[in-house]
């Protein structure tokens, strides 16, 4: 990354009117090596000796969007990956890593489950061995599953039930997707988490935690050959499995606005709206990102100006494109100032959306949006962790690592008309879903 960064700087220093020369960029992606084992395991390696850190990440291509019967299983299973193996029982794994100062965690989304450990170079062999061990010798005991499901139910209460924002997102997804599995929250419904059993966990593990459904991405300060050799040694013997099952359901077109109200005794109600947008990999993604910038990047953005600064009716306002593997959404929302009618804030929010559907943004706004997207790309190169994430995410989502210059070119090629076109195509009034989180008619406000 870093040697290339200077060239990237030079390229960015060109006036925007001059077409950028793609060949001038030494993108870290170009130095990333992809090794595919016979069993289908993909290993991405990117050496950068200017950082003291190496980030090791396992990206399993399974998320809540793959769940068939038990909602929340992908996430609950993620928890079980930390609860011991035949060889490394109980919390020995945590203790070994802690004694080396490792920083690790995991997360589950609609499409992927990601495990990571960031360490200094000398500890990478341990991280590799522990990862290979839990992929081969994981233990799922009923007792531990029972404890962990309680932990997840607490996580659900904290993040979804007692959080007004969590309530908003849960309702907006369920409203936007009638059919597609993205309608269920990644953490699952409480009743499913409460009942799922060891057999379901094991079946899930065998179906999805297989080498041909896994990408290991390593970036930073490490010995590339040694790491690949060690991974080969530890995981090449695991047989390839049948292609994991995927949900076949696609979302039918939406015919008419959908609305929901969630009653929570909040002081500051929330308003959120969502529209169907393309799945990842669509060429309109750049224009949709620019639309998000124009709506909500900085204090001069349209939503901040209209709802927060001038209108003084919202605490915050935002809009953006949420790209997922199998479907996408464009969302917009606002935190309502106490005492203001949420309906008024919704009107202001949708009025700003309508304006962008009718009139292209100004040249100034478009340039600002492009600049914002470019700066975000550069900021995304700052750590070993970010580099490893970018490589794995791109490979899983797009089947390749998108070169930076390709993305910069696509950003620079955007026109004001592109932005208006995608606003008109996707942000249609009869295709939107709107949620209010607010106190019920007979409930007194909290406190």
């Amino acid at each position: 990354m870093r040697p290339g960064a200077l060239l990237l700087a030079a390229a960015l220093a060109l006036p925007l009117a001059v077409p950028p020369r793609a060949a001038a960029l030494d993108d870290p992606a170009a130095r990333t090596r992809l090794t595919v084992l016979d069993n289908g395991l993909r290993i991405l390696t990117l050496v950068d000796r200017t950082t003291p850190v190496v980030s090791f990440q396992s990206w399993v291509q399974v998320g809540s969007g793959d769940e068939a019967r038990w909602t929340g299983l992908a996430h609950l299973f993620e928890h079980m990956m930390f609860r011991g193996t035949q060889n490394v029982p109980g919390d020995l794994r945590d203790r070994l890593l802690r004694a080396r100062g490792a920083r690790g965690n995991a997360f589950t989304s609609n499409d992927v489950t990601v495990y990571f450990e960031d360490v200094t170079e000398e500890h990478l062999p341990l991280v590799i061995d522990l990862e290979a061990d839990r992929l081969r010798h994981l233990v799922i005991s009923p007792d531990v599953l029972d404890t962990e499901r309680q932990v997840v139910l607490e996580e659900r209460r904290m993040r979804s039930e007692d959080s007004p924002q969590g309530r908003l997102i849960e309702a907006l997804l369920a409203l936007s997707f009638l059919a597609h599995p993205y309608r269920t929250p990644t953490i699952g419904w409480a009743s499913d988490v409460a009942k799922v059993d060891v057999d379901a966990c094991l079946a899930f593990f065998r179906a999805y935690y297989v080498p041909n459904n896994l990408v290991i991405s390593i970036a930073g300060d490490f010995d590339e050959e040694a790491a690949i050799a060690r991974l080969r040694e530890r995981l090449a013997g695991v047989p390839r499995a049948p292609a994991p099952p995927r949900n076949p359901t696609e979302e039918p077109p939406q015919r008419g606005e959908r609305r929901a109200v969630v009653h929570v005794p909040v002081r500051a109600p929330l308003v959120g709206a969502a529209w169907h947008a393309p799945a990842a990999g669509h060429p309109d993604a750049y224009a949709l990102d620019a639309l998000g910038e124009i709506l909500s990047a900085g204090r001069t953005s349209r939503l901040h100006r209209a709802l927060v600064y001038d209108g003084q009716e919202a605490i915050s306002a935002y809009g953006g494109y949420w790209e997922m593997e199998r479907a996408g959404l464009f969302y917009a929302g606002a935190g309502v100032r106490p005492g203001v009618d949420p309906a008024r804030v919704e009107r202001s929010l949708l009025e700003q959306i309508e304006r962008l559907r009718e009139t292209p943004p100004s040249a100034d706004e478009l340039e600002k949006a492009k600049r914002g997207l470019e700066v975000a790309l550069i900021r995304g190169l700052g750590t070993a962790h970010a580099l490893a994430s970018r490589n794995a995410s791109d490979l899983l989502t797009y089947g390749r690592i998108r070169p930076l210059d390709e993305r910069l070119e696509a950003i620079r090629a955007l026109t004001a008309e592109d932005v208006r076109r995608v606003a008109r195509a996707y942000l249609r009034p009869d295709g939107r879903s709107v949620v209010h989180v607010m106190p019920g008619p007979d409930a007194e406000a909290a406190g």
């Binding site: 945590d94 061995d129 607490e154 094991l202 005794p265 600002k368």
Partner: protein, 475 residues
């Protein structure tokens, strides 16, 4: 669960993955952990310091790897400086500094920043106010000009003052929708009472409602003086360049004495156990915050306290509290403990959340673990584990130039030795079991800890009976 887990498992192994293993070298976990590197962590060749004649210190950490630049100025006074009746003044002042400065009104200033894809932010902490602007290094001229205006020539326009006041009041009201924030506020009030630490950093609605732009202007004049501030820069920039720009932009900043430090918080605080329940009948979880007075950032025993806290609840999944409350009992997603180290002693606190029906059990487990840490010696391998955790992970916390710069500025704000980052790992490894024992005796007081719980009072009040006098309040 540990140790016995494998035995109790009824062969529930992932058989599909267990097959086909070739001969391989012994697993790395059977080998001893490599020794900890204790060398310097800050690349001295990239770090430069200087000082202008008026006393303004300069710190530059060069990093040409990416074409970015962040420059900022930290003044060594923050919310702790506010009279309690003016709680929120520092945050109000910081925000207002970004709402028009020099020749630009609020919108013009926002536009110059947004057009560069840059960010401008001013934040008040308890002990300092930071103003910072960051963007691409090719925009250095514009970024420096913005910072100089924001620091030296904020407009404090009354109309903007009114807008910011309304925004802050709305945010304070919105905080009441967040159970975690309510628990911490309730705890701070019980621990510190009328002292400034008893109210939230952002202030109280009563105090904020009375703030005017002129108050911010006066606070700014008192706090932002060159001898009490440090100018910092990091990214693709040279020290000589920053020095020259600082001379031009800040060289004629007249020196003045900083305000006297505020009165210290009460101690011991609280003097006896107190329980407060914040009634939120709608919540599924009880939000628990528990604690008492702690130590100052400059306390000579802070290393021992840090390690002691890591054993107890500061080190993530393997802390004692995580073991008991999450892994063994399944009562919570998270539980943590922390000593908030400020210029004056800040609170020691423990936070967690659990289903309402288990609130008492969670409180009891937490109190029992604090008592055990206070009374029983920490095992030698536990000390070694947290020493290795802190020393081994230290390089990770300083991966980026921004990380290093932030840590160095924090040292400056608290007047700590400038080489503290380089000596950190040695100081961690020098802590002994005796040090931990002394720290535990002096700084953990479960018997007088305050307990704040947010949730349905109808269920919580009877459940918490016997812990101490209970007060019920509304958010």
């Amino acid at each position: 669960m540990r140790g016995g887990a494998a035995a109790r498992v009824a062969a529930l192994l992932a058989a599909g993955l267990a097959a086909g293993c070739a001969l391989a070298p012994a697993p790395a976990w059977e080998e001893p952990a490599p020794p900890i590197d204790t060398g310097p962590v800050v690349d001295a060749a990239r770090l430069h310091r200087g000082e202008l004649a008026n006393g303004l210190r300069i710190l530059v950490f060069e990093d040409p790897r990416l074409p970015q630049l962040a420059i900022g100025l930290a003044a060594r006074r923050g919310a702790a400086q506010e009279p309690p009746a003016r709680a929120g003044l520092a945050s109000y002042t910081a925000e207002l500094m970004t709402r028009g400065a020099g020749g630009r009104d609020a919108l013009a200033l926002a536009k110059v920043v947004d057009d560069l894809g840059a960010e401008l932010d001013a934040q008040a902490g308890w002990d300092a106010i930071h103003a910072e602007v960051s963007g691409l290094s090719r925009d250095a001229d514009a970024l420096f000009a913005v910072l100089a205006d924001v620091v030296r020539r904020p407009r404090f326009d009354p109309a903007e003052g009114a807008k910011v006041r309304q925004e802050l009041l709305a945010v304070l009201e919105q905080r009441k929708d967040q159970a975690g924030a309510l628990a911490q506020q309730a705890l701070a009030r019980v621990v510190y009472g009328e002292h400034r630490f008893g109210a939230p950093l952002l202030g109280t609605p009563e105090a904020v409602a009375a703030l005017r732009a002129a108050d911010a202007a006066a606070f700014h004049r008192a706090v932002f003086v060159p001898g009490n501030a440090i100018l910092y820069a990091t990214g693709d920039v040279r020290y000589e360049d920053v020095r020259a720009r600082a001379e031009a932009a800040f060289g004629d900043w007249p020196p003045a004495a900083p305000p006297a430090p505020p009165p210290p918080p009460p101690s011991p605080a609280p003097a006896a156990r107190r329980v407060v329940v914040v009634d939120r009948p709608d919540l599924a979880q009880a939000q628990i915050a528990l604690g008492h007075d702690g130590i100052a950032r400059t306390d000579p025993e802070r290393m021992a306290v840090l390690l002691l806290n890591d054993v107890l609840g500061g080190s993530g999944l393997t802390s004692r509290l995580m073991e008991r409350v999450r892994k063994d009992a399944g009562l919570a997603y998270g539980v943590y403990s922390a000593f908030a180290m400020r210029r004056a002693p800040g609170p020691f606190l423990v936070g967690t959340s659990t289903r309402v029906s288990e609130a008492r059990r969670a409180v009891d487990l937490v109190l029992a673990e604090i008592a055990r840490a206070a009374e029983e010696p920490v095992a030698p391998d536990e000390l070694r584990a947290v020493q290795r955790l802190n020393a081994g992970g230290f390089a990770l916390a300083l991966e980026t130039a921004a990380d290093v710069t932030e840590a160095l500025v924090d040292l400056d704000v608290h007047g700590l030795p400038p080489d503290s980052l380089d000596t950190y790992r040695d100081r961690v490894l020098a802590v002994t079991l005796d040090d931990l024992r002394r720290a535990a005796r002096e700084h953990l007081h479960p018997e007088r800890a305050a307990i704040a719980v947010v949730g349905p009072a109808a269920a919580l009040v009877p459940a918490l009976e016997g812990l101490g006098p209970v007060e019920v309040v509304r958010p």
